[in-house]
């Protein structure tokens, strides 16, 4: 029988996510995929596997899981309290979850979206060419107790106990934006105020987008409410009728009529998605040229994540993790942590 992860309990926003489904934009279906694409890359690096494999996205709160066979797991994104059979395990790290063990993931300690990756990936059925749940489109749904998630073939069984310094992106900060469609509807004073303003992440937000409350008044523009609808991309900062910015994320609509004051760089979008309610965020315009350079650098950095892995147990405070490696039962040669990853 195919190894599987059984969901015993799941928070209200736990879904399967891969890189999403490009190609349906012309039919009004946005690409979707994880709210934090960097987290998917980090999980793939920790398990030395393909970034396109599906993982479990947990919005704000995790759940309780059980493996039907020994499997590798990795945890990335917003740090959450995680245990295996009651023993705390490190976030941003790979671990072994043995058959029958209970893996529990609690609420986010900071940030919004945590990720649970499985060796071989979640092999849920593909729909329209991808495994991503797209809640806004009604493709797939939130995971509920009793769900069995089959895993794909794991090419590196046993390769666990690695960690990665996570790119800090969970408590707001400054994100870079480029001017985009309809930025010209905002006069220079509005743009200057927008760059100087400090925004608070509103409690309203989901995989489609998040609202940010201005420090001062709302943002006015000359576009009015009758502008022809135009294409929207993730990162676009839409100013709705009341002058409040709404940053669009992976499940955003594909077109819209509200003017956009700018568009967040894809490299910085994880910081927007991960900001928890109340987190403070600033926007800084960069030129398109600088944005392209930043994107290319980020691509190179993400491709190099595997080289940034370190063995987890160098830190004696993490020694408890060893318990999950079955050293006592002799299931490993005991040198796992010294061996380079395949």
């Amino acid at each position: 029988m195919t190894p599987a992860l059984i969901v015993h309990r799941a928070g209200p926003g736990v879904t399967v996510q891969d890189l999403g489904r490009p190609g349906y934009l012309a039919f009004g279906l946005s690409r979707g995929g994880p709210a934090d694409r960097l987290a998917l890359a980090e999980g793939a690096a920790l398990l030395s596997q393909d970034e396109g494999l599906a993982a479990i996205e947990m919005a704000g709160m995790g759940g309780e899981f059980e493996a039907t066979a020994d499997m590798r797991i990795a945890l990335t994104g917003a740090p959450m309290r995680a245990t295996i059979d009651g023993t705390r395990i490190a976030w941003n790290a790979s671990h072994c979850l043995a058959a029958g063990q209970r893996h529990s993931v609690g609420a986010a300690e900071c940030g919004s979206y945590g990720y649970l990756h499985l060796g071989g990936g979640v092999a849920a059925d593909e729909r329209l060419g991808a495994r991503s749940t797209h809640l806004a489109a009604g493709i797939g749904r939130m995971l509920t107790p009793g769900t069995r998630l089959p895993t794909g073939p794991d090419k590196h069984p046993g390769a666990v106990g690695m960690t990665l310094d996570a790119d800090a992106r969970f408590e707001g900060g400054t994100v870079r934006v480029v001017p985009s469609l309809k930025t010209e509807f905002f006069d220079p004073n509005q743009i200057a105020r927008f760059e100087a303003d400090e925004f608070r992440r509103d409690s309203r937000g989901n995989r489609m987008g998040v609202r940010f409350l201005p420090g001062g008044g709302g943002y006015q523009n000359e576009a009015g409410l009758s502008v022809v609808s135009e294409v929207i991309v993730p990162g676009d900062i839409q100013i709705t009728g009341d002058g409040t910015p709404f940053v669009l994320l992976s499940e955003c609509q594909t077109t819209g009529g509200y003017p956009r004051i700018g568009s967040v760089l894809p490299a910085d979008l994880p910081r927007v998605a991960q900001a928890q309610a109340g987190a403070r965020l600033k926007f800084r315009f960069v030129t398109l040229e600088d944005a392209v350079k930043a994107e290319l650098l980020e691509q190179v950095r993400r491709r190099g994540l595997r080289r940034a892995l370190r063995p987890l147990v160098r830190d004696p405070r993490s020694m408890a993790d060893l318990l999950s490696y079955q050293l006592i039962s002799g299931a490993t040669a005991g040198d796992d942590l010294e061996r380079p990853l395949p």
């Binding site: 039919f27 009004g28 806004a136 009604g138 493709i139 220079p188 022809v228 568009s263 040229e289």
Partner: protein, 255 residues
């Protein structure tokens, strides 16, 4: 840095069309008009098809909106200057505003409940348009509208063009949640929602037409260029059609 207008790919003259602009960090948009018009809409649909056919290195995805064609490309494979040059060459190759509409177009007749508690903003929309509710229903249901683009949500059509009375703006505040199949109006257009959605458009009619069928071999019911007419029915009739194929709608293929 502040208002960055030299960097965003816009030419000095923002009134000249076609116009190529940047979208976000990795997208380009070719627009054929500032406001919706039949020729600009034709051009957008045909030009998007031409981009797909041109096999440009690094091309990731395309779409057509009402008056524009969009493309997203891989920054590791190509760059803005190369993509823009390719688009300019395509633009120069023919008069896109007189391009033919897509082939195999359909005319759909879609049963619709106007007003009632199923579509609570009919009277308000009629008032903004300066019409009585009965005249509003007659005006919308007699109009044969064309799918100008599919966008916003999966399979969701923007349909037009309605008579000039309907040049009404969107609302400032969003309507909380319009259910799937909801027919809404603004700026001489209709939209029909595939899934429940908050919107700035006013909810004037309710249908049972499934626009997006993710498990069907043909997941999207409508294509740009298709036409539709929203036929008035009573709420009880619509209730009976909820489980019928196509929500009681029927089509004929246009010549």
């Amino acid at each position: 840095m502040t208002p960055p207008d030299a960097t965003d790919g816009k030419g000095p003259d923002r009134t000249a069309f076609p116009q190529i602009r940047t979208v976000g960090t990795d997208g380009l948009l070719v627009s054929f008009g500032e406001a919706l018009s039949e020729p600009a809409n034709r051009a957008a649909l045909a030009f998007r098809a031409a981009i797909e056919a041109a096999d440009l290195p690094g091309l990731l995805e395309t779409s057509a909106s009402l008056v524009s064609a969009y493309l997203r490309f891989d920054l590791c494979v190509s760059d803005h200057a190369t993509m823009k040059a390719a688009l300019e060459a395509l633009l120069a190759s023919q008069d896109w505003t007189s391009a033919p509409l897509p082939g195999g177009r359909k005319l759909w007749r879609i049963p619709t409940v106007y007003g009632t508690d199923l579509a609570p903003q009919l009277e308000e929309a009629a008032a903004v348009a300066g019409l009585s509710p009965d005249d509003a229903i007659a005006s919308i249901s007699n109009a044969r509208v064309r799918v100008q683009t599919i966008g916003f949500a999966p399979g969701m059509p923007y349909l037009g063009e309605l008579p000039p009375d309907w040049a009404i703006p969107r609302q400032t505040e969003l309507t909380g949640q319009v259910p799937a199949g909801g027919l809404c109006v603004a700026i001489r257009q209709l939209v029909l929602f595939p899934v429940a959605t908050p919107t700035g458009w006013r909810h004037i009619g309710q249908t049972a037409f499934p626009l997006f069928r993710p498990d069907d071999p043909e997941p999207f019911a409508l294509r740009p260029g298709d036409e539709a007419q929203f036929i008035p029915v009573m709420a009880e009739q619509l209730a009976a059609m909820r489980n019928a194929p196509d929500g009681g709608a029927a089509f004929e293929v246009l010549p």
